[in-house]
């Protein structure tokens, strides 16, 4: 089959690779119909996230049609059109039983990396480094989906692929981030990052009863989309002297009740903080630029909640003192998608959520390196590039 492979830093190529096979009894093979770029892919494409191997197939946000079914698969049938969350989960361990799906104990074939880096290993992800299992990704014609009965969600009739694809990752991640904020009536939520996750978090916050959602970014076309498609108020941080001051003034001097970081380790910023991060990253003294997270911490009202969805490695100069002294609650996780996908599908069917506007660019799989290029450089107003296999 054909698949998009990582061959080194900033070196993506579509290559011919072996087809996947049913290996374990709960596997299915999916014929991928649509897959999409994710900002978190840029971290290893740019070389900031280690444990990729040359030849790895990338891609973790996808949907498709079931082509072949393992002998112990009970619910999923050949021909089912399904969407699959990015984290592979067993559905049986303590973590899965407690809806903490991305912490699944049984799906990472290479637990040794995270055992050392994080103390305990988390679940595996498709196409996302060997620390997350080394599984082949989904920018391919076919992909093996383990534990299919837990990980495949049947797409209701009448929905287009573009309406559903983002329920694989961006939508559940954003929804979870909004849920972390424990939104009360009248709440104001600030969201850093007007990408797929940030816009899904914004829409989700409104669905949960937020009165105002303020999105912080610097790309005018993304801010315009956030206003148009998810009803956000917006702050262009490149046009204001201080995001913290701006948000404080917008909220009567209190600060937002909760702040969602949907940016992560490659945050762009302005001023000395960004220069410091960029210099250290360039010298490989650390891997993360944390401007967005620092602003979120300083902006949040006292006693408020920080919801961190961006992907980080090891960050220093972290203003923990502000968290402690302001009594902030820090909530984070990689997406527990299996908990949210059924609820999100209901929202889509009812017309309350339509993430299809995120798919600004569409390419055949053969042109996916070009798709990543314009996605990375945010050319031509690109929010997400989607690929058809």
């Amino acid at each position: 089959m054909r698949a998009l492979c990582w061959n080194g830093v900033n070196d993506l190529r579509v290559e011919t690779v072996p087809d996947p096979e049913i290996v374990n009894p709960h596997d299915v093979i999916l014929r991928v119909t649509l897959s999409t770029t994710c900002g978190s892919d840029l971290h290893f494409i740019d070389g900031y996230l280690p444990t990729m191997k040359a030849g790895d197939i990338i891609g973790h946000e996808f949907m498709g049609v079931v082509e072949d079914v393992g002998r112990d698969v009970k619910k999923v049938k050949k021909g089912d059109r399904v969407v699959v969350p990015s984290f592979i989960v067993c559905g049986n361990c303590w973590y899965c039983e407690h809806n903490l799906y991305s912490l699944c104990d049984n799906t990472n074939p290479k637990p040794e990396y995270q055992q050392v880096a994080f103390g305990q290993p988390t679940a595996g992800i498709y196409g996302y480094t060997h620390a997350f299992g080394g599984y082949a990704g989904a920018h391919a014609q076919y992909v093996r989906v383990p534990y299919a009965d837990n990980d495949c969600f049947l797409v209701p009739e009448g929905l287009r692929d573009e309406q559903v694809i983002f329920l694989s990752d961006a939508a559940p991640t954003g929804y979870m981030g909004a849920e972390f904020c424990d939104i009360q009536p009248g709440a104001t939520i600030a969201v850093w990052g007007a990408g797929g996750v940030g816009m899904m978090a914004t829409r989700s916050a409104y669905l949960m009863g937020a009165e105002r959602v303020i999105v912080v970014d610097r790309f005018p076309e993304r801010l315009a989309m956030a206003r148009k498609f998810v009803g956000a108020e917006t702050v262009d941080y490149s046009q204001v002297e201080s995001v913290v001051d701006t948000l404080r003034e917008m909220t009567g001097g209190r600060g937002p009740d909760a702040c969602i970081d949907a940016v992560g380790m490659e945050a762009h910023g302005t001023g000395p903080g960004h220069a410091y991060d960029r210099a250290k990253q360039a010298l490989h003294l650390h891997s993360d630029r944390g401007q967005a997270l620092r602003e979120a911490i300083l902006s949040c009202r006292k006693g408020g909640t920080l919801s961190v969805l961006g992907v980080y490695g090891l960050m220093d100069k972290f203003p923990l003192g502000a968290i402690i002294n302001k009594g902030l609650t820090l909530r984070t996780a990689q997406q527990h998608g299996q908990k949210y996908v059924p609820r999100l599908l209901e929202h889509v069917v009812k017309g309350e959520l339509d993430p299809s506007f995120l798919a600004t660019h569409r390419f055949p799989l053969e042109d996916s390196p070009r798709g990543y290029e314009i996605f990375k450089k945010k050319e031509d107003g690109c929010v997400r590039a989607v690929f058809t296999a």
Binding site: M1, A3, C5, N7, G8, V9, D11, R13, E15, T16, V17, P18, D19, P20, E21, V23, N24, H26, G47, Y48, L49, P50, T51, K53, A54, G55, D56, D72, C90, G91, N92, C93, W94, E97, D105, N106, T107, N108, P109, K110, P111, E112, Y113, Q115, V116, A117, P121, G133, G134, Y135, A136, A140, R144, P146, Y147, H284, L285, H286, S287, L314
Partner: protein, 254 residues
């Protein structure tokens, strides 16, 4: 600074009781080496030159070392071992052993029964050894050893207290004196069972032993905990996560 691991192994003396964990300075240096390695890997990978590749590879090795040396080597009281005759004591002084625990969400009875099934050990140890069940109490172990020699031995169950404890030992005439035990203890709340796996190896003296130890030293902590993880996945889900047949654009699947 802590000794390099090769030195540490060479000097490992059964009569001494080394500390259970690496001293803080050692742990920091390991964490630092892993961190540095991660940085160097990305630095190396960013330079698409031979030099860059070397940096990446070298730092990959450093990362591996950082990972590997996190194992702890608990003391093995010589007198408690029992399986090695006293006359062998001097020549079998270079022991390596490890003990790791993992919580599995099933009752001890179920886990004990699974452990005793003929193909279970072969499946969970498959990442570093071929283990074949010869009879209910006898296993044949095969490690692909150094110097083109395969390292094989037979082991037999010598102590059994179902469903709590099982201990096995290599036959007295084996090249490699080895023993292992597994213990199943109830975990608090609804967590299931705490499973502890203990493995120890002490090869004969001589150059071959040195080579064997080099081979074995990659096994202990991470391989032991990986065997437990594989056992856990088998017990909780009926399968073990794998990259078998995993499509890639390189020769290997993993």
């Amino acid at each position: 600074m802590r000794m390099s691991r090769t030195e540490a192994l060479r000097d490992f003396d059964l009569q001494e009781a080394p500390s259970q964990e690496a001293p803080p300075s050692g742990r920091w240096s390991q964490a630092a080496s892993a961190l540095l390695a991660g940085t160097l890997v990305s630095l190396g990978l960013r330079r698409r030159s031979l030099g860059g590749t070397v940096v990446a590879l070298a730092s990959g090795a450093l990362l591996y070392k950082g990972i590997q040396s996190r194992r702890h080597t608990p003391p093995l009281p010589a007198r408690a071992r029992g399986h090695a005759p006293p006359s062998d004591e001097a020549s079998r002084a270079h022991a390596t052993e490890v003990e790791r625990t993992l919580t599995v969400g099933r009752p001890a009875e179920v886990l004990y029964r699974l452990w005793r099934e003929p193909d279970t050990l072969g499946r969970i140890m498959g990442h570093f050894a071929d283990v074949k069940s010869m009879s209910a109490d006898d296993w044949h172990w095969k490690l692909h050893g150094p110097l083109g020699r395969e390292l094989e031995w037979d082991s037999r169950v010598v102590e059994e207290r179902a469903p709590e404890f099982l201990r096995w030992e290599a036959a007295a005439n084996s090249t490699l004196a080895s023993q292992g035990w597994v213990r199943f203890r109830p975990a608090p709340g609804n967590w299931g069972t705490e499973v502890t796996l203990h493995l120890s190896f002490s090869p004969p003296g001589g150059a071959f032993a040195e080579a064997v130890m080099k081979r074995l030293r990659g096994i202990p902590a991470l391989q032991t905990v990986k065997a437990l993880r594989r056992f856990k996945s088998l017990a909780e889900t009926g399968e073990i996560p794998t990259l078998h047949h995993n499509p890639t654009a390189r020769a290997s699947a993993d």
